[in-house]
Subunit: 434 residues, 2 copies
């Protein structure tokens, strides 16, 4: 039977993994597609760097035109990453009549509307299972398997790098900087880890999931986000003492007809399965109005888990399933209405963990509690250990867990508390999830 020809653009870690599957598992994939998938071309600017897969001679090229001008290549896989030249290349591939598969969450979060409109204009499709949570089939789950549901909430650990760092801190008692260094040594974090640790990566993935599940057109930059670079060993210790662990959570939740979106380090109760997601794994808890809660857990990154998701998209594109889903869902289309409005971040309620360094003298707790109370922020519990240091009135840590309170009210009270002379600047504040 006539093979379906595939090109890979971007021969890095994931590109090599996809090439490996296409070359080494031909028979298996042919069974899944009903005809062979032929890797016809691999494009990369670097023709020399060694990869862990051996390509047949003549396949690797630095000329994108060999793909654009070959009408037999039906599917092009963009694995370059980043915004440019990925954006321009995807537009040219679509214009040349190729269906596109991509793992590029930054590209979709930033240029989704432009790319999906181009795909519609040229009658092509874009598949992007690998762009969120690597090997976990969360895109297919929300777009197809849970299609009968109004999704009510999505709570995700969507960034493996930060989850690895937080796990190191929780389990080894490491400081943030040491845990980051370990992550870099083991290849879980890049030399410049800022897009992971500052929450950008998770916010981009959340923007994609929120569009898919709720139809909202949200720029990822608008999603309130806090990174993990401010999480301290002391907070890990107090969290553990209180029965929690700290995770970087990406949250999309319908509340009172509006959508809450945020990415932030959160104290997660040990009774919640998200607390037990360790190392570089990802996990997502989705609640649908019919299905109830569904929990997914798997490897969110890495060569072969990501290649598994990319190759599933190649198979579905080759079979024509992707074209149907693409045509029907009209994602990132200007005429696809937002089903729900975004909620004002200040109105989003949560329980909070606060850690303050305060003077060890009578009346301090009363002053702080008074300010919180005046803003209707109610205290659930307090930890203040006896100081072990000698001397008069040293600074001591004070940990407060609040009942549920709107973010805006909490921020107002914290601004006042930080102005108290008995409180050191730099109050730590994190959400709490039961």
């Amino acid at each position: 039977m006539k093979p379906i020809k595939v090109a890979i653009i971007g021969f890095g870690t994931v590109g090599s993994g996809v090439a490996k599957l296409l070359l080494e598992e031909r028979e298996r994939l042919a069974r899944q597609v009903g005809c062979p998938l032929e890797l016809a071309r691999v494009v990369d600017v670097d023709l020399e760097r060694p990869r862990n897969v051996r390509l047949p001679p003549g396949l690797l090229t630095d000329q994108l035109s060999t793909v654009l001008e070959d009408p037999e290549i039906q599917i092009a896989v963009e694995l370059i990453g980043g915004l440019e030249p990925a954006r321009t290349i995807v537009l040219r591939l679509l214009e040349a009549g190729k269906d596109v598969v991509t793992a590029n969450k930054a590209l979709l979060a930033e240029h989704g509307t432009e790319l999906f409109e181009a795909a519609r204009k040229y009658g092509r499709s874009i598949a992007f299972e690998a762009s969120v949570a690597g090997g976990i089939p969360i895109i297919a789950a929300i777009a197809e398997s849970l299609a009968a549901n109004q999704i009510q909430s999505i709570y995700g650990i969507l960034n493996g790098t930060t989850n690895f760092i937080l796990t190191q801190m929780a389990e080894q008692g490491s400081m943030y900087a040491d845990a980051l260094r370990t992550a870099q040594q083991l290849g879980y974090a890049e030399a410049d880890p800022s897009l992971d640790v500052n929450g950008t990566d998770a916010a981009q993935k959340l923007a994609i999931l929120a569009h898919l599940a709720f139809g909202v057109h949200v720029r990822w930059q608008e999603i309130p986000r806090t990174g993990i670079d401010t999480v301290q060993a002391a907070d890990m210790k107090y969290a553990a003492e209180l029965g929690y662990t700290i995770k970087l959570l990406a949250v999309a939740e319908l509340v009172g007809g509006g959508l809450e979106l945020h990415v932030s380090p959160t104290l997660v109760s040990r009774h919640n399965p998200l607390a037990h997601v360790r190392g570089a794994f990802n996990a997502i808890r989705v609640v649908g109005d019919a299905v109830g809660p569904v929990f997914f857990h798997g490897q969110g990154a890495g060569q072969m888990p990501t290649a598994s998701a990319v190759t599933a998209d190649i198979i579905s594109t080759a079979l024509g399933r992707t074209a149907i889903t693409f045509r029907t869902l009209r994602l990132w289309s200007p005429d696809r209405p937002s089903v729900v409005p975004l909620r004002d971040p200040a109105a989003i309620s949560s329980r909070y963990y606060l850690r303050l360094n305060v003077e060890d003298r009578p009346g301090v707790l009363a002053e702080i509690a008074g300010i919180l109370g005046a803003h209707q922020v109610s205290i659930a519990s307090v930890i203040q250990h006896e100081t072990e240091e000698p001397g008069d009135h040293p600074m001591v840590p004070l940990v407060i867990m609040t009942h549920s309170a709107p973010a805006g009210k909490l921020a107002e009270s914290l601004a006042k508390i930080e102005r108290l002379s008995c409180v050191e600047p730099g109050v730590v504040c994190m959400r709490v999830l039961s």
Copy 2:
């Protein structure tokens, strides 16, 4: 736009749930399909029983012919359950040109080949997401999202009734009979619970997953299975003492080029996420050679979770995705080769938990250990508490955890041990999973 007409055959709990979604969520479903889904007919022998959904007048009928003879009805949903008349009805629906959606695992496990051949003959499709694990999209995951992988193992809690009973026993210290009664009172177990508690239901679901993931044509009756009706409160207690909990696991695993299949109550380590699946929930851990482990957790039964899966199948059938998958995978086809042979159950190795009542006198442990050793069954740990009862040589419980040993060797040694005069008949033996 012209609606796609759907009929529901079997207006019980799940049928009412699907009707509810089709009637009350028209707009939402129309968005997912690109045109309205119209519930055109509901067929049931019982026209009187009250259900928790109000049908428009004239929709409910006891005449299947109204569906068979209406060429506008494209999709028929079989929710009768059981073998007959479900089998005959599905065959007639296919012959009449309807695509079929079903939640009936018993029907597929028993008559899959006949039904799927009939669907191919008449150019129709059968979708069955709801037949395994209710709201968890495990069929789509294995058939589509993990299609690039050779699945290596599936470990599942596939029966909510037994998991509810085992959870009651583990958390409340209930006896089996009391936990079963609670399950019946709460609607989690039927008046005759035998198909659930004896492992039949889980074995039928496992047969479906094993066919999907490994291509094996296995009759569910051939799958070695043990029910939970022999699990005693004492075993729950010892399991907890050892750091385990008892779950009814359905297992399909590639070992040395052969496929192991079995359903049995298993001591699952508390470090394994399957140990924390509570109540009527289901969970499945799938390992693929590319993706690694992926874990799914959700409601395995119940009206709306099952209706969510059925309705997703209706959507995919209406869109034409199901036809593509059905045509390509050629499930239950005589010409779809079994990729792997089944392993001899006697050769399947596992760690084991043994509980024996033995005479409390010197030499007993040595005798038992000697027999195990002679069959190359190695002991990992032993619990024998001091007896609290007065008197000479009373019977005392002896608990042994073995290292990994083949089922056949273990059975041989147990047969000999049970013949010892110092051992009461009825040795308890369960697999152990780390």
